[in-house]
Symmetry: C2
Subunit: 200 residues, 2 copies
């Protein structure tokens, strides 16, 4: 909070600094809101409470976000962008296509498991947004390319299109949301990968 | 509609006939509402419209259901009960455990594909109901028993519990909702079943 208040004193003509300041306020608001929702539940979190806990004025908060839902959507967008970066790094990592695909599938399954921790209420609120549909399309495309690469290398079955296999993977791995342990998630990934293997 | 109006004239002391009449009115209301939502979309369907199209008075309709949502929920409950009966008949049919499991998985995938036809708005409304959670638990239990039977027969892998495999199947087959053809659904079922096979 101290960092934010210090930044307010920086001359406003320095555009870069203003940009930095806005980003710091935004990050503080997003982080605080996510923490409050996790702690108190969605219904208990108000704009006043967020302003107070972030250490900014209520009027300032309203200059950034019109309501709690918009803050949560922004937070969720950043979470999703982070996940896509994480999966992208694994795809572009070392190893043959099969190993990189396995790493991506496992990381995606763990994301699904963590995501479930948000709770049903927050999940229902966040997952109807257009940004989620966009991220899902992106992820589907991303997996399709990896699967096509795997099929060319002979690691992945080629009697079913990479597009359909991507849909299968994303749905099957969503089962991780209900799993209680990392070991169970790894078993789910193994079962899902067994479905991808060339026949015979 | 004629059938319903005739039944109204039957002496009220005949309890069985009253029950039959109530069922006929209820079925007419559910069928009419589902057809109207399919045709006009959820927002365009009102209680007045449903009463009119079902051929009953508005006051009578309100004796049966308080609002459009409750009619849709009742309709959905009957759909789900029908699906569970269909899957139960396949499970109890002829053939070895592997064949019966395959028949159940394929039928479930086709149900998922048809279900998607309801549209996203109706899906979101119906799928937050408690009756859906109950049906999902029932289905999970149902599949788990079939998978356990298959594992004992050596058709299904036994390095992962039937419970986890049931979750995998239900999630993987939900991908059928986005598939355009019966052939694509059958490919999805084949891929999903490949994940269930014993290793090695």
């Amino acid at each position: 909070m101290t960092a934010i208040r210090m930044l307010v004193c920086v001359p406003k003509l320095w555009n870069e600094t203003i940009e930095e300041h806005r980003r710091a306020v935004r990050d503080a608001v997003l982080g605080t809101t996510a923490a409050l929702v996790g702690e108190l539940g969605l219904r208990a979190v108000t704009m006043s409470r967020i302003a107070e806990e972030s250490g900014i004025g209520r009027a300032t908060l309203y200059k950034y976000f019109p309501d709690v839902e918009s803050i949560l959507t922004a937070w969720h967008e950043e979470q999703i962008a982070g996940h896509l970066r994480e999966l992208g790094a694994l795809r572009d990592g070392s190893g043959d296509p099969g190993e990189r695909l396995a790493a991506v599938l496992e990381a995606y399954a763990f994301i699904q498991q963590r995501r479930h921790g948000h709770g049903a209420e927050l999940g229902a609120l966040l997952h109807r947004g257009e940004h989620v549909a966009g991220a899902e399309r992106h992820l589907h495309h991303f997996l399709r390319e990896l699967l096509a690469e795997g099929a060319r290398a002979g690691d992945i079955r080629d009697d079913v299109s990479p597009d359909e296999l991507a849909g299968y993977c994303l749905h099957a791995l969503a089962a991780a949301g209900a799993l209680p342990s990392k070991a169970a998630v790894r078993r789910l990934v193994a079962v899902t990968r067994a479905g991808l293997r060339p026949e015979g």
